[in-house]
């Protein structure tokens, strides 16, 4: 075996072929086969049946509408939070900063079911705020505000975690220059910060949206699972499955799966943009690069 000392395994060596086969089999069996079978099963009775399962069932229609409402609200809240939190963490130093950063990650390691339960303990009828909410005639649990809260919780880290490293990499110089030239806070944000972080922000938004559309556990707990009222698309998938209406369930699932594929395509595209920008930044900062601000060291 010492006759080929240069590489442990190449694509054409027997070991390399074996490794590739193993990796392709892993991804194929665990990921591609399930994904393909969603679409095959959803269209097994023809596109007509697929369309009817989606459009002619009022509860399913309502679930699609509810998902398309709840997810954008949660994503919008998280976008505002993400930008504010990234600005705070990447541009200022203050006591408790690292504690704050680790709190951002807590939703990743809390089971969504536990998060949902915590919301029920606060906003539910027997919860901490239950009597107050009843007096105000506001319904949070078993209603859409609960869905928004639960979805916001599970997607909380996604935008901010995307922005912090990019903002730290870019550094505060351009923003400080803008301030010293007399720009106010909003002008700095809209004209300097936002253009610099737009791809990272979009990346976070796309990921948060995918997670928001697909969230099940947390939403299940706070929704009460009421068909035609608080069922989102993933909950509808489960309800139809429980009612032994697997083809209809697959039809809804296929819409969610198509959305996931779209997300991945968008993600690959955005990552390419991010890559280009970080290379440009690298080039601009490289020693000996043209540091004239008008060309930014980018042009030939």
């Amino acid at each position: 075996m010492t006759s080929k000392p240069r590489h442990a395994a190449t694509a054409t060596s027997p070991l390399g072929m074996l490794l590739i086969t193993g990796a392709v089999a892993t991804v194929g069996l665990l990921i591609v086969a399930p994904l393909a079978s969603v679409f095959v099963d959803a269209f097994s009775n023809g596109p007509q049946a697929w369309w009817e399962a989606l459009a002619h069932d009022p509860d399913t229609r309502h679930a699609i509408w509810l998902s398309l409402t709840v997810a954008p609200i949660a994503v919008l809240i998280n976008t505002i939070f993400g930008v504010a939190a990234a600005w705070l963490v990447a541009r200022f130093r203050f006591p408790g900063r690292s504690l704050l950063v680790s709190l951002f990650d807590v939703p990743f390691s809390v089971s969504p079911v536990v998060a949902g339960l915590a919301l029920v303990l606060i906003f539910g009828r027997q919860g901490l705020l239950g009597p107050t909410l009843a007096w105000l005639a506001v319904k949070v649990i078993f209603a859409w505000p609960g869905l928004v809260l639960a979805t916001t919780f599970v997607t909380l880290p996604l935008v901010v975690r995307e922005l912090i490293p990019v903002m730290e990499a870019i550094g505060p110089e351009e923003e400080m220059a803008a301030v010293s030239l007399g720009a106010n806070g909003w002008q700095v944000f809209w004209r300097v910060t936002l253009p610099n972080i737009r791809w990272a922000l979009l990346h976070g938004v796309v990921l948060a949206n995918a997670r928001a559309m697909g969230e099940f556990g947390a939403v299940y707990v706070v929704s009460g699972h009421i068909a035609g009222a608080t069922d989102t698309m993933p909950l509808r998938v489960e309800k139809l499955f429980q009612e032994y209406r697997t083809p209809a369930s697959m039809a809804v699932a296929s819409v969610l799966a198509a959305l996931a594929l779209l997300t991945l395509v968008a993600k690959v595209f955005i990552e390419r943009q991010l890559e280009t920008e970080s290379q440009e930044l690298e080039a601009a900062r490289a020693p000996g690069a043209d540091t004239d601000p008008t060309t930014g060291g980018l042009g030939p």
């Binding site: 240069r6 442990a8 395994a9 694509a11 392709v24 892993t26 665990l30 990921i31 086969a33 399930p34 994904l35 079978s37 504010a84 939190a85 705070l88 541009r91 690292s98 704050l100 807590v106 990743f108 390691s109 089971s111 079911v113 536990v114 998060a115 915590a118 029920v120 303990l121 901490l128 919780f153 975690r161 995307e162 990019v166 730290e168 990499a169 505060p172 110089e173 400080m176 301030v179 106010n184 976070g204 995918a210 697909g214 299940y220 707990v221 993933p234 998938v237 499955f241 697959m250 699932a253 799966a257 996931a260 991945l264 993600k267 690959v268 930044l281 690298e282 900062r285 540091t291 601000p293």
Partner: protein, 305 residues
């Protein structure tokens, strides 16, 4: 603004694979540039928005959960959280999550290695497909897995006659948990394999080490911390998973019922105390995972430097 190049500018984002999913990134390094008194505006408003959200959504809900459980008293807590059915559910949760995390780590190492080191047609597509479980709703995954592995399913028609039951069984739980946790195991290890120095491996081979010796003595020590971090992340993800498991497990108490499913069924019976107590145990398990991940990541960053 013209600034001289700083050493930190080369030490920024680590290239695409590490950035795939922000969760997998090592903790952000402390800011180096903000030394000088900053003149930037917006501290007040960004601090207000951030603390409002974190306090209202993370701190208060988890505090309420823990206080609710604490108000049961030690005896009441034990009576609620340590029933035979709850103990069985923890065992199923821990057992299937550990199994799934081990499988994910091994398969993840294989896939990551192939993606980094081997050039073959379709490599980029394979690389993109690895992220599917992060974008696909877990309910869809659970639904599809259960239909694939039942007796008449695509895979079940071959496997069930062989005695392999992939649906409504512990195996089914492990399968979906591997599905949801696999990307974590891959994406943590991938950038570390990329950063490995190939020369060391070549030197080992030239000095007469066999392939397996090179792997176990030279390669593995370098990537082990990342593999362990990936394992912990996969385990944390698997422990909390609900959406996919509820479809495939059959949810039989004492057999295939995981802790999150038990929480939900207690909640549906309005047994809030019991649901809360079990939730706190589960929370303890996953938060200790978070601590382990953080310690490991810090060690990882330190070793890399």
């Amino acid at each position: 603004m013209n600034t001289p190049p700083t050493p930190s500018s080369s030490n920024r984002r680590e290239g695409p694979p590490a950035d795939r999913f922000s969760i997998l990134r090592p903790p952000s390094p402390p800011i180096r540039r903000a030394r000088h008194r900053t003149v930037l505006p917006g501290f007040g408003i960004s601090a207000a928005i951030t603390s409002l959200m974190i306090v209202a959504l993370v701190v208060i809900p988890l505090a309420v959960l823990i206080l609710r459980a604490a108000s049961l008293g030690p005896a009441g807590f034990l009576a609620a959280a340590w029933t035979p059915r709850a103990r069985a559910a923890y065992a199923v949760s821990l057992g299937s999550s550990l199994t799934a995390a081990v499988i994910s780590s091994l398969l993840g190492l294989l896939v990551a290695w192939v993606l980094v080191r081997l050039e073959f047609p379709g490599r980029r597509i394979l690389d993109a497909l690895v992220d599917v479980p992060l974008a696909l709703p877990t309910a869809v995954a659970g639904l599809v897995y259960s239909t694939l592995y039942v007796e008449k399913g695509w895979l079940g028609q071959w496997l069930v006659p062989m005695g392999i039951k992939g649906a409504y069984s512990l195996l089914g739980i492990v399968l979906v948990l591997v599905f949801v946790s696999l990307p974590f195991a891959i994406r943590v290890v991938q950038p570390v394999i990329e950063s490995l120095d190939k020369d060391t491996e070549e030197a080992a081979r030239l000095l007469g080490a066999s392939r397996s010796q090179t792997f176990f003595r030279v390669v593995l020590p370098g990537i082990l911390p990342a593999v362990v971090t990936g394992f912990a992340l996969a385990l944390a993800r698997a422990l909390g998973e609900y959406g996919s498991v509820v479809f495939i497990s059959g949810n039989m108490p004492f057999k295939t019922e995981i802790a999150p499913v038990l929480i939900v069924s207690r909640l549906e019976e309005f047994a809030y105390a019991e649901a809360t107590a079990i939730a706190v145990v589960l929370l303890g398990m996953s938060l200790s995972m978070l601590v382990v991940v953080n310690v490991l990541q810090q060690r990882l960053v330190r070793n890399a430097q």
